[in-house]
């Protein structure tokens, strides 16, 4: 016998439900079963294939996107849990004014080989550069970026690109600044 007084019960979704979220500034609606992860919803249902599926277990970072400005692994996030959230993918990083400073810096620093991890690297880097809680030196950047694996081993140029982008972003803290 239940000891608690319960006012209302939640309604469980058994098969499919409608999720409304914002993706790259646009309101989008999805009709999905509860077991669809955000990564698959973006790629297979919204056609946003820039976000990559690497390990599918939160170990490689290829699927990194922003939810409400924070970098997360979209492979471990249920799309149904993104109701009302703002999702930004690699397709939403550039603006009408041109490439995001991180994209421009990756280009100029040749910060990739095969390119498969690149969208995830850029999403992590762009969130990190706006996060004043993270240090600005190379060691802090490498630590903050360790959730993004580059199978080709382009880490040296990735680091250089991120520090180059830092100099181009008005909102990013500069190297040597302390919080």
């Amino acid at each position: 016998m239940n000891m608690k007084e319960y006012s209302t019960q939640t309604k469980a979704v058994e098969t499919e439900t409608t999720v409304t979220l914002t993706v790259n500034g646009e309101p989008r609606q999805l009709r999905i079963p509860p077991n669809v992860v955000l990564l698959d919803a973006l790629r297979d249902r919204l056609g946003l294939t820039g976000t990559k599926k690497g390990c599918d277990h939160g170990q490689c970072g290829a699927c990194t996107v922003h939810i409400d400005g924070q970098a997360i692994n979209s492979c471990l996030t249920l799309a149904v849990m993104c109701e009302g959230r703002e999702v930004t993918t690699i397709e939403g990083l550039a603006s009408d004014a041109g490439l995001h400073p991180v994209q421009q810096a990756f280009l100029e620093n040749d910060a990739y080989q095969c390119g498969f991890c690149t969208p995830g690297q850029m999403m992590s880097a762009s969130a990190m550069l706006e996060d004043e809680r993270i240090g600005t030196d190379d060691a802090a950047v490498r630590e903050a970026m360790s959730g993004n694996i580059c199978r080709c081993g382009a880490y040296k140029n990735i680091l250089a690109a991120i520090q180059t982008a830092r100099g181009q972003m008005p909102t990013a803290r500069k190297e040597g600044e302390v919080s």
Binding site: M3, T8, V13, P34, I72, N73, L76, S146, G147
Partner: protein
């Protein structure tokens, strides 16, 4: 991934009733970093998933008695950088930031970190024998590749390590968990929450069915204490511990007044080394005392074929963490 029913709870009562309202196997979800991973591997098979993210459990607040109360849903990132944590519990901040990756820390919650499952590869492989996943099926880790496995708190049924860094800091700092379930609210000491595997490695904690953790309350900080979390692992970042040590020490006139020591990566639960703590108290804050403490902390270590290297590794982690914490205490 198998299908499951899904609901989002607006408050704790809704979460509890959603969990118990039918006989189906139910799981709570917060960050999802353990659950979705293990559902994809078919290791966890919930028929119902209840989303807790709308619950009002995201505050960190200092209580009148000086303790720190942390809401279950505070993310690992937010907790690590919270001013009350960095100022009064730098050990916890250090341990949190030593765990996982930026993305996972952004997703993972404080209670979820406590509830995370082992990384034992035999637990994660449904083709392997595992008493934790499938009680009575055996333990393939015992005679398998057990390099990552535990030295302390093991049994002949399970040698899986508890993977958390945060929990090692909490074991050293001391904490109380607030649990809420169909029968109301209760509290349990952090050290009593996780179970030893013994002959039932599938029973990992003291939560009753349909109960959930609502708050974690840290004991008052050790006055004048210095602390250090040292994690030794196969690579510099984003890797589970081979051995880790969390230390808090308070030193007066060269003598240890208070000592806290917990170990990670070498035990089946977050491991408070109580006898070593007692042995340190009242002793001079120098290497001989630290060596004695490390010896006591690891006296019951039971190495297997591939993990004997962890005994000297854990010893070094303890020594260095004690040295660093002592230096921090002297400089404070």
């Amino acid at each position: 991934m198998r299908s499951f029913a899904f609901s989002a709870a607006e408050n704790v009562d809704q979460a509890i009733i959603a969990c118990e309202s039918n006989n189906a196997e139910a799981s709570y979800i917060a960050g999802g970093t353990t659950l979705i991973d293990l559902v994809k591997l078919d290791v966890m098979r919930p028929e119902r998933v209840i989303d807790l993210n709308r619950l009002p459990l995201k505050e960190v607040e200092r209580l009148d008695d000086g303790r720190l109360r942390i809401g279950a849903l505070v993310s690992n990132t937010d907790l690590a950088h919270h001013p009350l944590v960095t100022e009064h519990y730098p050990l916890l901040s250090q341990a949190l930031l030593a765990g996982a990756s930026t993305q996972l820390r952004n997703m993972a919650t404080t209670a979820g970190n406590i509830m995370q499952r082992t990384r034992c590869p035999y637990f994660r492989d449904v083709a392997a024998a595992c008493n934790k996943r499938d009680p009575g099926s055996g333990c393939d880790a015992l005679g398998g590749i057990n390099r990552m496995h535990a030295l302390l708190g093991t049994s002949e049924h399970c040698i899986a390590t508890h993977p958390s860094d945060m929990c090692v800091a909490m074991a050293a700092l001391g904490a109380t968990l607030t649990l809420e379930g169909p029968n109301g609210i209760r509290e349990i000491a952090f050290g009593d929450f996780h179970r030893l595997p013994m002959d039932r490695p599938d029973l990992e904690h003291e939560l009753e069915p349909n109960e959930l953790i609502t708050h974690i309350t840290l004991d008052t900080p050790v006055v004048g204490g210095g602390s250090h979390y040292l994690k030794l692992r196969d690579r510099a970042s984003y890797e589970f511990a081979l051995a880790s040590a969390a230390v808090v020490v308070a030193v007066e006139d060269g003598v240890i007044r208070d000592a806290r020591l917990a170990l990670g990566g070498v035990a089946t639960k977050p491991w408070q080394a109580m006898e070593a703590e007692q042995a340190l108290t009242g002793q001079p804050a120098k290497t001989e005392s630290f060596e004695k403490a490390a010896e006591i902390a690891l006296a019951d270590a039971l190495p297997r074929e591939h993990n004997a290297f962890k005994v000297p590794l854990a010893r070094q982690a303890i020594l260095r963490a004690l040295e660093k914490a002592t230096q921090a205490a002297m400089n404070s």
